[in-house]
């Protein structure tokens, strides 16, 4: 667990960067991991195809919230194209901790909301099919 809960992860969890509301946000996207209850709303202020500012609000496990916080620091000032090009592997490597299969969704929720906002989505393609009661294992 010391591998996973490193100081900087816990620091981002307890003191999330770019946290809160973003007045004047141009793109906002909200998503959840129903299985664990992680929740993130990502707000971007896009100007001249650049991420001029970013804020997020969320609740959930340390991994989901720290990952989102780290990502907001990275995308600020980047072009929309650069943000759209960020892939899963990059986010997982950037986290710098071993992520088990069960926690991958936690680690990637931040990226999903960033992408959703960057592409100007209101709903993730395909997720509408699974709306309602989410599946889960007992």
């Amino acid at each position: 667990m010391d591998d996973m809960y490193r100081d900087y992860i816990l620091d981002h969890y307890k003191n999330p960067r770019n946290s809160g509301d973003l007045p004047g946000a141009t793109n906002t996207y909200h998503d959840t991991n129903p299985l664990c209850g992680d929740e993130i709303t990502m707000a971007l202020l896009i100007e001249d195809d650049k991420v001029k500012d970013v804020r997020f609000k969320g609740r959930g496990c340390a991994i989901s919230q720290a990952s989102a916080s780290i990502l907001t620091e990275e995308i600020k000032g980047k072009s929309l194209d650069e943000v759209k090009a960020i892939d899963r592997q990059h986010v997982l490597e950037n986290l710098g901790i071993p992520i088990s299969p069960a926690r991958t969704k936690c680690a990637l929720l931040g990226l999903k909301t960033v992408k959703g906002a960057a592409w100007g989505l209101s709903e993730w393609p395909g997720d509408a099919n699974t709306a309602g009661i989410a599946s889960g294992k007992e």
């Binding site: 667990m1 996973m4 809960y5 816990l10 307890k14 129903p34 299985l35 664990c36 209850g37 992680d38 929740e39 609740r59 959930g60 496990c61 340390a62 991994i63 926690r103 936690c106 009661i133 989410a134 599946s135 889960g136 294992k137 007992e138």
Partner: protein
């Protein structure tokens, strides 16, 4: 009904029981495993593993088919397992026991076979926020398809079912069906199932009891309970996954159409028409998970030899041990009843400042296996207004030492998170 006991000691020889479970001597991350996720699934004793291995190593053959020794022996063991389950539940006959893969499949069997022929537009289906998704979603979807209405019964602050709401819902009329759990998998609350069944039946409703968390942990007597249907899974009661059963009186099963069609469930097939096999095989299409069913029979033997009342008492003893110790940890919130009345050994809690998934992850490093999440209880989580909880659940092989390690693991999680 749960026995109200305040056991000062366990009635079980837990050391002897543990020796029957090979997996319990495993180490995880260098520490002896403390398996406290029994509401999700149970571990298997050597007796069950051996009963299943014996089939494969000694006489495996498809059941109900061959006229040679292997098939006859396997069929006899398979049908013998059915007899054991019938006796275990005090069913009137083995024809009342239909083997299914799990409780979920059992609920779906009833929803598709009985529900679609009997629940009509405008009918009401009563259910509770304590239901596992398996005893809610099938009814929700059926209601949508036929135009029926779902009426949900809430819980009070202790996690007990709101009897006043239940009574009011039945008095409201048009209640065709009641789908209730015997025991909450999220909070460990045991419902007054017999009273609820009697009340529902007096109002003219048909009742299904989800006993997935009850049959493994206390004596369940289907004739005493008086419901129309009861379902449970084998894997939560020392048997393998893939085993489970639906119980219903013969007359009820006789009036129902089959659920799945195919081999073994038929009597005579022609191009024009097919007639169905006798009970219970009318509901068992295709090759059954017969080795799993034989494993379930061995699990029933094991549980009966230990004694269901003693198992229940042991779990309450552990719950009584762990509850005050949990309450003493600053920042811990316990969900569900804090007393031992009408409950089983399921304890749901949260640690302030640490998400349940992080709690469970840190527990893992301590060798402590618990469940974190919504436990297929999203309705209950919404009611509790939490996204998830951490849940420890006990069985006959757990010890007070493991409870101490649970408390120690909470301290470890709090230390990591500085809370």
């Amino acid at each position: 009904m749960a026995v109200s006991v305040r056991a000062a000691a366990t009635p079980l020889d837990v050391g002897r029981i543990r020796a029957d479970f090979p997996i319990l001597s495993r180490k995880v991350h260098g520490k002896p495993v403390a398996y406290l996720d029994n509401a999700a699934t149970s571990q298997k004793p050597r007796q069950v593993i051996d009963a299943m291995s014996r089939v494969f190593e000694d006489h495996n053959a498809n059941i109900h088919r061959g006229v040679y020794e292997f098939s006859e022996t396997t069929t006899a063991e398979f049908e013998g397992a059915r007899e054991k389950v019938a006796r275990f539940l005090n069913a009137a006959s083995a024809r009342e026991i239909v083997f299914v893969r799990n409780a979920t499949e059992g609920v779906n069997l009833v929803a598709y076979s009985w529900g679609r022929d009997n629940i009509k537009a405008g009918d009401r289906i009563v259910s509770t926020v304590l239901e596992h998704h398996s005893n809610f979603v099938p009814w929700q979807q059926l209601a949508k398809d036929v135009g029926a209405e779902i009426v949900m019964i809430d819980i009070d602050d202790d996690g007990r079912l709101r009897r006043d709401q239940f009574t009011a819902a039945l008095k409201g009329g048009r209640v065709k069906f009641v789908a209730i759990t015997y025991t909450s998998n999220g909070l460990g609350v045991v419902l007054p199932a017999k009273e609820l069944v009697a009340e529902a039946k007096a109002a003219g409703a048909t009742v299904l009891v989800d006993a997935a968390q009850a049959v493994p942990h206390q004596k369940v007597d289907v004739r005493d309970l008086g419901a129309d249907f009861l379902v449970f899974s084998g894997h939560k009661m020392l048997a393998p996954p893939g085993s489970g059963a639906v119980w219903a009186p013969e007359a009820t099963f006789e009036r129902m159409r089959p659920f799945l069609y195919g081999g073994d469930m038929i009597m005579k097939v022609s191009v024009e028409k097919t007639t169905w096999n006798e009970l219970p095989w009318k509901f068992e299409a295709g090759t059954s998970s017969y080795v799993d069913a034989i494993g379930l029979g061995a699990a029933v033997d094991y549980l009966e030899a230990v004694g269901m009342d003693k198992i229940h008492e042991h779990e309450l003893f552990l719950t009584g041990y762990v509850l005050p110790r949990l309450e003493d940890v600053p920042g811990v919130t316990i969900y569900g009843p804090k007393t031992l009345d009408d409950r089983v050994g399921v304890v749901s809690f949260n640690v302030e400042g640490v998400h349940p998934h992080d709690v469970a992850q840190i527990f893992d490093r301590e060798g402590v296996c618990v469940r974190a999440g919504h436990h297929c209880n999203q309705l209950l989580m919404a009611k509790l207004d939490v996204p998830a909880t951490t849940r420890a659940s006990f069985y006959l092989y757990n010890t007070t030492e493991e409870c101490d390690r649970l408390i120690g693991a909470i301290q470890a999680a709090k230390k990591v998170f500085g809370v």
